[in-house]
Every structure is written in structure tokens, then in C-alpha cells.
């Protein structure tokens, strides 16, 4: 209470608090990695690698953040990403055109969003079931398109794929004395643009605030004159659209389509959102937090690998442990807050 009087600004709200914790832990963890594991973690390229590898994960995590803020869930994002990759690869290989392939990706994403949104908002079916069906459908369609891995064989696309943005001043000198500039893939730019767009949307655009209102208390949102059905509909449309974009970014990174692409991505995306401070109950969360959530998740995996624990099962166990830690932390922090308010 004393603090509040001294500060001109308001105390952190739930979203800001959870986000700050995540950013703090990420920084501490990264610094610890530099100190104890040194080497690779010192180079800026390490961060860029993480971004390059996870651009599409960042995008779908943002999609989930939007849906989760609105009090829903979308577990189809990974499968839709995979379907988009496969469709676009096959289309490009059949001699398609780049622009059309992008439109195809966006179209598939929007299509899923539309159907999900309609079923959830206007027919009031549980989002888990609808997006589960969406996930089944997308996975099934992917294998129907092709069971075998497909590599893109398309000149224009190859150019797009190999296009890298070089940032010389963040580079480093390799052991053999050559200077290697930091490299960032085009997909990362797309991801960052999406991130900024959604940040602005959630913070400064009416629709974004309506997502928060809807997730905070749906009944209230309705009474406040928000068209809850349309708002929810739009949240799933956005999620679908972002899954489509994510698919294209994924393809730009791998340059190939495979039925098992992006397997388990939805759970990684949910985990990123949660670590970033989004509550599944809705109304609390922020894409900046989600961004750091993704980075935290990736960093922990990198640290595990760098520590010499190469068995793949170590990664998932540490991820699980990490998740457990954050979930408990949030529960304790928010619980303490609620208590404080009541007293």
C-alpha cells in the first residue's frame, strides 16, 4: 500500500507481472548458460539460430495466446501448419507460382479458422472438441496428400528460402579466422512482424481489448455491449490465419514437406504461452510474454544439449520440469495476489 502512494504508476497487473517473471527468468537462465557453458551462448548467432529454428513456433504461439486470452483453446495449429507445408510443397513442385502458394497457405489457414470459429461461436460447441477434430482432419489430409516426404524443387522458392538477412555488427570471428556475420532468415522477419502486429492489436485496437474482456468474463462482455460471438469468431479466424502463415514460414525453413512435420507443435505452443504468462482461464496474457516463453523453452533445450545430455528424452524431461516450475510459480504468485487483495 505504501508503495502505491509513492509510485505515480499503477502496480503491475496480472499480465505484466507474469510476463516480467518470465523475462527475468529467461535473462537469468541465459546469463547462467553463458557463465557455465560459455562458448556458443556468447554469440548473437545463438539467439538468431533459436529464432530461425522457431519462427513458426513463435507465430503459432501468438495464435494460441490470442485464443487463450479469449478464453478458448486451439489445438489444431500444429496440424494445420503441417497441412499447409505439405499442400504448398506439392503445389510448388507441380510448377506453381510463389504468390499463389502464399495465398494457398493463407487460404488453408483461414479456412480452418472460419470453420472452427463458426462451430465454436455460432453453434456453441466446445472449442477443445472442434479444434481436436480440426487437428485430426488436418493430419489426415496431410497423409492423404502424401505419406512420403516431399522436397521442394522450385527455383524461385529456393531463392526465397535461402534469402538471409545478414547483420554484420553482431557477427563473430570463427576459429579459422573468418568473420561470420549473424544471419537471420526471412521467416524470422515474418514472425516478428506478426508479433508486433498482434501486440498492437491486443493493446491498442478495440478488437484486441474485446478479446481480454471476453476472456475476463464472457457474461460481462456481453452485457457491456461486445458482440461476443463475433469476437470469438474473429479470434479463431486470426488463429487459423496465423497457422497458415506459420506453415509457410515452416516450409521456408525446412524446404520440404513431411507428414510428421510440426508434430506436437500445438503443445509446445501452449507451453510457450503458459510460460509467457497466458492463463488458460482467459483474460490474462501478452504476446511479448509468449515470445519470451518460446525463447525460454528453446534455451532450456539448448542448455540441455550443450550440457552433454544428448539423449532426446532429457529434452522432454527438462521441458516438463520447466513447465512444472512455471505453472507452480504462477499459481503461487497469483494465489498470493488474490489473498492480498482480500485482506
Amino acid at each position: 500500500m505504501k508503495m502505491m502512494k509513492n509510485m505515480r504508476k499503477e502496480p503491475l497487473n496480472d499480465t505484466q507481472l507474469l510476463m516480467s517473471i518470465t523475462i527475468g527468468i529467461f535473462i537469468v537462465m541465459y546469463l547462467a548458460a553463458i557463465v557455465f557453458l560459455g562458448g556458443g551462448f556468447l554469440h548473437a548467432q545463438q539467439i538468431f539460430d533459436m529464432l530461425n529454428d522457431n519462427a513458426s513456433l513463435i507465430i503459432v504461439s501468438c495464435a494460441l495466446t490470442i485464443v487463450m486470452i479469449g478464453g478458448g483453446i486451439d489445438i489444431s495449429v500444429g496440424a494445420v501448419t503441417s497441412l499447409v507445408v505439405m499442400s504448398c510443397v506439392l503445389y510448388l513442385n507441380s510448377g506453381g507460382n510463389i504468390i499463389v502458394s502464399i495465398l494457398l497457405a493463407i487460404g488453408i489457414g483461414l479456412g480452418f479458422g472460419l470453420v472452427h470459429g463458426f462451430l465454436i461461436s455460432y453453434l456453441e460447441i466446445q472449442p477443445f472438441i472442434v479444434t481436436l477434430a480440426g487437428m485430426f482432419f488436418a493430419r489426415g489430409m496431410t497423409t492423404i496428400l502424401s505419406v512420403n516426404p516431399q522436397k521442394v524443387d522450385h527455383e524461385a522458392f529456393a531463392k526465397l528460402r535461402d534469402m538471409k538477412i545478414e547483420i554484420p555488427f553482431l557477427g563473430y570471428t570463427a576459429k579459422n579466422g573468418n568473420f561470420v556475420p549473424a544471419r537471420m532468415e526471412l521467416g524470422v522477419v515474418v514472425a516478428l512482424v506478426c508479433l508486433i502486429f498482434i501486440f498492437v492489436l491486443l493493446k491498442y485496437i478495440r478488437l484486441g481489448r474485446n478479446f481480454y474482456a471476453m476472456g475476463g468474463n464472457q457474461q460481462s462482455a456481453l452485457m457491456l455491449g461486445i458482440n461476443v460471438k463475433r469476437t470469438r469468431f474473429l479470434s479463431y479466424i486470426l488463429s487459423g490465419l496465423l497457422s497458415g502463415i506459420s506453415g509457410y514460414v515452416f516450409m521456408m525453413h525446412t524446404g520440404a514437406g513431411n507428414a510428421t512435420n510440426a508434430a506436437g507443435m500445438e503443445m509446445n505452443a501452449i507451453a510457450s504461452s503458459i510460460i509467457g504468462g497466458t492463463l488458460l482461464t482467459g483474460g490474462v496474457g501478452n504476446v511479448i510474454g509468449t515470445f519470451f516463453g518460446t525463447l525460454t523453452l528453446t534455451t532450456i533445450k539448448k542448455i540441455v544439449v550443450s550440457s552433454g545430455l544428448n539423449d532426446p528424452w532429457w529434452q522432454s524431461i527438462t521441458t516438463g520440469g520447466m513447465l512444472c516450475f512455471f505453472i507452480m510459480l504462477q499459481s503461487v504468485v497469483l494465489g498470493k495476489r488474490a489473498k492480498k487483495k482480500n485482506s
Binding site: 496480472d14 481489448r209 481480454y212 474482456a213 476472456g215 475476463g216 460481462s220 457491456l224 483474460g283 487483495k341
Partner: protein, 498 residues
């Protein structure tokens, strides 16, 4: 009728199996406060919900300023100048105060936080609401949240303002503030529809009263022409001369009787330490303003909140009550203040709701058989005159008064020695209120101790033989015998020399 603002004619609304509104007319003029009265189930809320676009009427017409309109959604209602403040807070706790005032309004895609906060601060200051615009709404008290809801409606320049039980979570000071605000708006030509259960408040602030009963219009009256007693009789459809002669004044000295329950400096996470006792067969009550700690105290007795200290003796023996189940095992029953949140299990049947507490006391491994529970349910449906289609009807579909009776039945079935009734009469119709008061006195005669809490002092005076008065979370007085009158109670609540 010139200066007529809102006209509703021949409104009809049908729910499965029920005709909720039958040919109801309602007229609101500019610059008037119009009370909408009726028992529970009279159709008030249905009428309000039609007007605010939550429900669609099946027949009838609505016109605003002589233009026929159809109201399709709450959003639509707002656009047509109809704003509503509900009993339950209908704002979003995760947003700021300013956002709660401006969200869902106006045009344009952008949200200008700074501008909103500036405007919100002005309005809050103007109305004297103690909140900052940039504060998260969830961190405000319930009363302040309610005021924010009103501030929002006021700022919407509404033509019609509907206040649905706005005063039930406000204390007297806040109620007066609200009334000042209502009069102010009235002078600006806003038509206000005021729905409440507090008769005094109706007479204090309203110009006109429309009474509904069983989904039909009883009539529209000027306040001056309708005495309070007549209003009550119109609402429940029968003369109520028994109201005043409920309690026969048998001034038997209860202090000779055995003390059933005694607590010394009992405290909980929500209640300051207090001393309390009750005799066998006594009816006493906690009174005080909302937030004075009366509910918190009885919750501490029942172990509903975390008990932090104190000595409890029951029938002269030391007892430890930290959880509700402990209290229940000592023969204590507790009817909670908030029926929806703490009382009913809405989707379960009347039967299951009635047997719940007894089942819990029987224990996890000794379920009550189906036939036994059916017998119990039938018995209490009859005894308490619960109006329900069958014993298997989900309790959520019953009217408020009948839900309350179901919860009463639940506790009566456990044959408690001591029953705590926290606001058993809140939000229910006058007839049921009377039945419950009678029941309390009957229980006392049978030797059950009862602690009764009601925000209507009248009710307490009629039923209790001893009143414990609380202010600012402390007991400030105990009234009995000849001190037990309205004036003395008010004086003690208000403070000053007792």
C-alpha cells in the same frame, strides 16, 4: 401522453412450460424514476431482459420516443440509449476501470488509453467514486465496481437507465450517493427504471410504481397514491395483516436455559476476534451495515473461512471447528448469504440438493438409498411448500424463494441443534419471507437455536430476542428486551452514545 420516453405494449414472453410475461404494458416518462415491483417470478427480470435485448419477446411492441423499435442484442440496446446496471457486477475484472467504462462503446478501431483514462478520471471525480481510472477493476471493492458500472451508464448519455437491484451490495452511505446521482440524472431528463426489493428505497426516490404479479400487469401508480401496505398487498395479492403480529411477546427469560454454543475471541482470516454465545432455543441475530463483519462472524462460527484462533465450547464441552464438516458434526447448519454461489448445486435435482448435507454427515461410505432420499425430498417439499414440477427437477430452474426453501430443507433434514441463517430472505418474495420467519420461530419453539441475519431490521426485530450489533468488524452492542426497537438499533449501528 407527451414527454413519453419508452412505451412497451402487450409484451408476451414464453419459456418452455411457462408464460413469463402475459400482455404486459410499461410506460416510462422523461425525467422520472419508475420503480418496477413484484415478487420473484412476477416477470420483472424477464421484462428487463427483453428491454436490454438479452431475450427476444414473443409478441408485443416497444417504442422509444414514439418510434417503434426492435431490440436485438445488448449492444443494440446500448445504441438505442438503454443502459443497464445489474445486481451482479457485469464488468471485466481483468481490465482497468477506464476500459470497463469505455469498452464496447463508440466507433473506430483504436483504443486511446490515455484519453480514456483522462475522461474516466473526470467522471469518477464528478460522481465522487473512490477509484483510479488506471486501476485494474478486480482490485476494487465490490461497491466501487458497482459504482463504476453506474458511471459507465451515466457517461453513455443514456435516455433510459435500468438499475436492477443496484443497492443490494451497497451500504447506506453509498446508497445515498446513488440516490443523489439518480435525482441528478432525473433532473437531466433521463428516465430511470428502478428494480429493488427494498420498499423504503422505493418510497424515498421513486415517482411512480408499476407492479407485476405472475407475469401480468397489476397496475401503474403514483407513489403518493399508494401506501406501503397497499403496495405489498398488490405485490403478493393478499392482505398482510399478519405481518405485524408475527411474534407473540413471550418475554420468557432465556438466560436460564442451557448455553448451546459459546465462543471466546473467535477469529478467522476474515473476521476480527469476537465473543459470542447462544442459548438452546434462542433466536438471536447479527446486525450492522454491509461490511460490518456480520457475515464474516457467522462464517467463522461455521468454519467457512480459515479459523485463526479462539475457544469454542458446545454444550459445555470444548470443540474444535476449523472446517464446515466439523461444525456440521456438532449439529450446526449454515445457510449461506450468497445462494447462487454458496448454496444451490444448480444442475442437480431438488432431491439431491435436499439430501446433500445429510449425506455428507453420513459419510462417504454410507450413501443414502434412492428410496430413502425420495421419501425425504417428498416430505420436505410438502412441509416447506416448495413449488417444483417434481423432486427430480434441477434446482436451478426453480424461483429464488423456492431455491432458498430447498437449502433450508437441506439443513432441516440434518436436524441441527443450531441453525445459522445468513440473509435467508434476500431477493425472495414477500410471501416466502414471511414463511421463513415463521419457520424460524417454530424451530426455536422446538428447541433449535437460530442465528438470523437480515439486512431488513424489521425482520430481525420480529424474530430475534437478542441482537448483536456490529460496526467496523467489531461488536459494538447487544440489544434485548425493551431496547429491541428500530430506533435503538439504528442508534447503535450508527454509533455515538449507546
Amino acid at each position: 401522453m407527451e414527454n413519453c420516453l419508452l412505451k412497451m405494449r402487450h409484451i408476451e414472453k414464453r419459456f418452455p412450460g411457462v408464460l413469463a410475461l402475459n400482455n404486459v404494458d410499461f410506460t416510462l416518462r422523461k425525467g422520472e424514476i419508475h420503480a418496477l415491483m413484484g415478487e420473484n417470478g412476477a416477470g420483472k427480470s424477464t421484462l428487463i431482459k427483453i428491454l436490454t435485448g438479452v431475450y427476444q419477446m414473443d409478441a408485443g411492441e416497444i417504442s422509444i420516443e414514439d418510434t417503434a423499435v426492435s431490440i436485438r442484442s445488448p449492444e443494440d440496446a446500448q445504441n438505442k440509449g438503454i443502459s443497464t446496471v445489474y445486481q451482479e457486477i457485469t464488468l471485466c475484472p481483468n481490465l482497468t476501470v477506464a476500459e470497463n467504462m469505455f469498452i464496447g462503446r463508440g466507433n473506430g478501431g483504436w483504443v486511446r488509453h490515455k484519453e480514456y483514462e483522462k475522461r474516466a478520471d473526470e467522471i469518477l471525480k464528478q460522481l465522487g467514486i473512490p477509484a483510479r481510472s488506471s486501476q485494474q477493476l478486480g482490485s476494487c471493492s465490490l461497491a466501487v465496481q458497482q459504482m463504476v458500472a453506474i458511471a459507465r451508464a451515466v457517461d453513455q448519455k443514456c435516455k433510459v437507465l435500468i438499475l436492477d437491484e443496484p443497492t443490494s451490495s451497497l451500504d447506506d452511505k453509498e446508497v445515498n450517493m446513488l440516490f443523489d446521482l439518480m435525482r441528478d440524472l432525473k433532473s437531466k431528463g433521463v428516465g430511470i427504471i428502478f428494480v429493488t426489493h427494498f420498499l423504503e428505497q422505493v418510497y424515498e426516490v421513486s415517482d411512480r410504481i408499476t407492479v407485476l404479479r405472475n407475469g401480468e400487469l397489476v397496475g401503474e401508480y403514483l407513489v403518493e397514491e399508494l401506501p406501503q401496505v397497499e403496495l405489498v398487498s398488490k405485490m403478493i395479492g393478499k392482505e398482510l395483516d399478519e405481518l405485524s403480529t408475527l411474534k407473540e411477546c413471550d418475554e420468557e427469560d432465556l438466560s436460564q436455559r442451557e448455553v448451546f454454543y459459546e465462543a471466546k475471541s473467535l477469529s478467522s482470516s476474515d473476521a476480527e476476534p469476537f465473543d459470542f454465545f447462544i442459548h438452546k432455543g434462542e433466536v438471536n441475530g447479527f446486525t450492522g451495515l454491509l461490511g460490518s463483519g456480520r457475515s464474516e462472524s457467522v462464517r467463522a462460527i461455521f468454519g467457512a473461512d480459515k479459523v485463526t484462533g479462539g475457544d469454542v465450547t458446545i454444550k459445555g464441552k470444548h470443540a474444535k471447528i476449523t472446517r464446515p464438516i466439523d461444525a456440521m458434526k456438532h449439529g450446526i447448519g449454515y445457510l449461506a448469504e450468497d445462494r447462487k454461489r454458496d448454496g444451490i448445486i444448480a444442475e442437480l435435482s431438488v432431491r439431491e440438493n435436499i439430501m446433500l448435507a445429510l449425506q455428507v454427515m453420513n459419510g462417504f461410505f454410507r450413501p443414502i438409498s434412492r428410496s430413502e432420499s425420495e421419501a425425504f425430498a417428498d416430505e420436505y417439499i410438502k412441509v416447506l411448500n416448495i413449488k417444483t414440477a417434481s423432486r427430480e427437477t434441477p434446482v436451478g430452474s426453480l424461483s429464488g424463494g423456492n431455491q432458498q426453501k430447498v437449502i433450508l430443507a437441506r439443513w432441516l433434514l440434518t436436524h441441527p441443534d443450531y441453525l445459522i441463517l445468513d440473509e435467508p430472505t434476500r431477493g425472495i418474495d414477500v410471501g416466502t419471507k414471511l414463511e421463513i420467519q415463521k419457520l424460524v420461530l417454530k424451530l426455536a419453539e422446538e428447541g433449535v437455536s437460530v442465528t438470523f441475519i437480515s439486512s431488513e431490521v424489521e425482520e430481525m426485530l420480529r424474530t430475534c430476542s437478542r441482537l448483536i450489533v456490529m460496526r467496523d468488524r467489531h461488536i459494538v452492542g447487544e440489544l434485548k428486551g425493551k431496547d429491541l426497537n428500530q430506533a435503538q438499533v439504528m442508534k447503535t449501528i450508527a454509533g455515538g452514545e449507546a
